[in-house]
């Protein structure tokens, strides 16, 4: 039994012990966090409904396959599964949209498939770049953003490529 299988009970036990040791009201903190989780869900449900409607329509119409086919030569050369093309497009723009598209891929192709794993790693290793940039620069009152956008997009691109490579490396099909 390897450690990643046991990570859930280990984390739960570890957090509980740490909390008790630091004299935190563990149960109250759990409930507060879980209630916050409901708030997060409530915020993403509308986005998921809107996004999955559009994604399912795209799939049924054949447009998604067409788009994937057009981009396939480029993506395949880079080692990225063409099926993830919609995820690549929305990831930098909207977090909830990316979660919707990614979760749909994970469900459709199976969480333990190469495509499902790649989508999961892409979601886990990238951020909503444009949203983050907008929030930070407006909070700091920045007009001249200089090279922040190109540098952040380099990181995104590297994240997508690395996600596809890491899955192929660690989960050989």
């Amino acid at each position: 039994m390897d450690i990643l299988t046991l990570i859930v009970p280990l984390l739960l036990a570890g957090a509980a012990l740490l909390g008790l040791w630091r004299r935190v009201d563990v149960y109250d903190a759990l409930l507060t966090g879980a209630a916050e989780g409901l708030g997060v869900l409530l915020r993403i449900v509308p986005a998921l409904i809107a996004l999955l409607t559009a994604v399912w329509m795209l799939r049924a119409s054949g447009a998604l396959e067409l788009l994937a086919e057009v981009l396939a030569p480029v993506l395949e050369r880079l080692g990225i599964p063409p099926e993830t093309v919609a995820l690549l497009l929305v990831r930098p723009v909207s977090g909830s949209a990316a979660l919707g598209v990614g979760a749909d891929l994970i469900r459709t192709y199976g969480p333990d498939s190469t495509i499902g794993r790649t989508a999961a790693v892409m979601l886990g290793s990238t951020e909503t770049t444009f949203y983050t940039i907008a929030v930070y620069f407006s909070a700091a009152g920045i007009k001249k953003t200089r090279y922040a956008v190109p540098a952040a997009l380099c990181a995104d691109l590297a994240g997508f490529l690395a996600a596809a490579w890491a899955v192929r490396l660690l989960f050989p099909a």
């Binding site: 989780g37 997060v40 994240g159």
Partner: protein, 192 residues
């Protein structure tokens, strides 16, 4: 605004493509099915997501952010040399990175914005090299335990929802490294 255009584009494209390929009926049915799939998806991940948010709240209250901040301080001095001696900025930045590592997005953003505001005081209106670095580091995900994604995988019936952790760490590390290198390189090359 960006998402409005994307969404409208997706719907129009499906309609056009569905009509062209004679799959209009399928597109119509898919629209309704997709909407219910959105709700089901949310329900399938609800339990795991709420549980993890609870565990993270326990960690936060246990002082995990402060403990990590202390460990990270020396590294961050190298990333933000202009502010290495500015206690206020370094405190905010190290707490921001720690909260990001723990996946506490709600705690990380205000800390990061505090750091950004402090940094911007030296060069109002213009993003300094350090501020660009801060933004780039916050647009690259560095979460140690991606709980939301694991919740989605668990909801979809994965045998081991967390078995992607090493892959996520590898991909995140590469992405952050490329971001930092790109920022450092562009800092030298950029002409305003």
């Amino acid at each position: 605004m960006g998402m409005s255009v994307i969404w409208a584009g997706m719907v129009l494209l499906s309609l056009a493509c569905g009509l062209a390929t004679g799959r209009g009926g399928e597109v119509a049915a898919a629209a309704m099915e997709g909407a219910s799939a959105g709700v089901e998806l949310c329900l399938s991940m609800a339990g795991a997501l709420c549980l993890w948010m609870g565990v993270m709240e326990v960690l936060r209250r246990s002082g995990a952010i402060r403990a990590l901040s202390r460990l990270l301080r020396p590294v961050l001095g190298w990333l933000y040399p202009d502010f290495a001696r500015d206690g206020g900025v370094m405190d905010a930045v190290s707490a921001n990175v720690s909260a990001n590592l723990l996946g506490l997005g709600n705690a990380a953003t205000p800390l990061g914005l505090d750091a950004a505001r402090r940094m911007s005081r030296r060069s109002p209106g213009v993003a300094s090299d350090s501020l660009c670095m801060l933004v780039v580091c916050n647009t690259a995900s560095i979460q140690l335990i991606p709980t939301t994604v694991a919740a989605v995988r668990a909801g979809a019936g994965s045998a081991a929802p967390f078995d992607i952790l090493p892959a996520v760490w590898l991909a995140s590390a590469l992405s952050v490294t490329v971001g930092i290198l790109a920022a450092r390189l562009l800092a030298r090359l950029w002409r305003d």
